[in-house]
């Protein structure tokens, strides 16, 4: 495996106070262990996180930007999914 074929990994970090891993960037590494170590060196120099995920970019499936409209617009007409659609009487705490 020459360096030009090292896979690309996307890096996700969960902070101490965070609930979810956030995408922070990417790097090339020959295997998972090097990917984690390098991700730690590059993306957590300032206590950014307590947990790291590295995922091969090739394993990520992304929705196409061109399909954004048809893919997401079913939600546009369903405003009743939000609690604010239902005003409550003042004397009711809900």
């Amino acid at each position: 495996m020459s360096r030009s074929t090292w896979p690309l990994w996307e890096v996700f970090v969960r902070s101490q106070h965070g609930l979810a891993h956030k995408h922070v960037g990417s790097l090339h590494a020959p295997d998972a262990e090097m990917a984690i170590n390098n991700a730690r060196d590059v993306y957590t120099r300032r206590n950014e996180g307590v947990s790291l995920w590295v995922v091969k970019a090739a394993d990520i499936v992304a929705s196409s930007p061109a399909d954004k409209g048809p893919l997401f617009d079913p939600a546009d007409s369903k405003v009743y999914r939000h609690p604010t659609f239902f005003p409550m009487p003042d004397e009711i705490k809900m």
Binding site: M1, S2, R3, S4, W6, L8, V24, G25, S26, L27, H28, A29, P30, D31, M34, D41, V42, R45, R46, A62, S64, P65
Partner: protein, 329 residues
């Protein structure tokens, strides 16, 4: 500015009304402030310009490790050594983020590094100057990183998503860079003895004009700026950014008791800005051509590091392959 004089390959800027088809849709998105992402259609010239700019920026970070790396073994205290190590480490990280952003445009890391090592790719002129004294480390943090911040903050809002996001991260880290340099100079200039103050003044004399040159040639001599600005890669002109740098830095020099080596430097009450003297642009062009004090040395050092580190890359690849074969067996 870390990317200076980035060529767009475009002879004249066409206004959005003169564009049609995908070019027009693209320009309208840019004008609306919508970020362009890697999967989006973009004009080939826009893609090429970004590859040049982002890779030049990345090369600058990595080459920029060298003038500061020069003083790691001679930092005057353990605290200063640890701080300088952290800064140099950050620059490597910045290079990595930027190479990653450039790769989203369809170019490989190896191609970019090969171009640098072959002397075909540019990097910021400022890194071709030597660090002759400990005070130079302060000057780099204060002036060079200070100039970089002024350039990089607007880039956080540039039209290309991956580049803008990298800049957000870089800017967070860059403010430590400027502060550690200025803190170093406060110690030399306000708490130091006369020879330390003299050392700082002498360093300022050598770094001031090259720092001003970091912003690139004057607007009237920057033919590529108009297209970069229409594409919202560049948001402010070279002269605007340079003026901002001077205005912010003069009071900082006064606090240190240092004299900026420009007899024409003068506050203009009417404009609310400092006037400053003529820059010797022939020096800038010579340095970019390869005739600065350290160009050859910088390139040789980079090439040697790459060649001497080959065994590490080969070992990592061999180990990964061996582990994969074992797992498959």
């Amino acid at each position: 500015m870390y990317a200076q004089m980035v060529e767009t390959g475009v002879k004249s800027v066409r206004s959005v009304d003169d564009l049609s088809g995908p070019d027009r849709i693209f320009q309208e998105r840019v004008d609306a402030g919508i970020r362009i992402e890697p999967q989006d259609w973009m004009p080939e010239a826009y893609r090429k310009t970004l590859v040049r700019q982002i890779s030049q920026h990345a090369h600058s970070e990595v080459v920029g490790m060298l003038p500061e790396g020069n003083w790691l073994t001679r930092a005057p205290s353990l605290k200063r050594k640890a701080i300088l190590l952290a800064k140099v480490q950050d620059e490597a990280g910045h290079g990595l983020y930027l190479y990653s952003a450039a790769e989203t445009l369809g170019v490989s890391r190896d191609e970019l590094i090969d171009a640098l090592h072959a002397g075909k790719a540019k990097y910021s002129s400022i890194f071709n100057y030597p660090t002759l004294t400990w005070a130079d480390i302060g000057m780099i943090g204060w002036l060079v990183d200070g100039a970089a911040i002024i350039n990089q903050i607007p880039l956080c809002r540039c039209s290309y998503g991956p580049y803008a996001r990298v800049m957000v991260r870089v800017c967070k880290e860059e403010s430590f860079h400027q502060r550690q340099g200025y803190d170093l100079l406060i110690q030399l200039c306000r708490e130091g003895n006369q020879s330390q103050k003299d050392m700082a003044q002498e360093a300022l004399n050598r770094w001031w004009w090259p720092a001003l040159m970091m912003f690139g040639p004057p607007d009237q001599d920057s033919p590529n700026s108009a297209q970069s600005m229409q594409w919202r890669i560049k948001l402010f002109s070279n002269d605007e950014l340079r003026q901002k740098f001077v205005d912010q830095t003069v009071p900082q020099a006064e606090y240190l008791g240092l004299t900026i080596p420009d007899p024409d430097l003068k506050w203009n009450e009417e404009t609310g800005h400092y006037e400053f003297g003529e820059i010797d642009w022939s020096e800038f062009y010579e340095v970019l051509k390869g005739n600065g004090p350290c160009n050859r040395d910088r390139l040789q050092t980079r090439v040697r590091a790459h060649e001497e580190g080959a065994w590490v890359r080969e070992a990592m690849a061999a180990y990964a392959q061996k582990q994969a074969q074992r797992a498959a067996a």
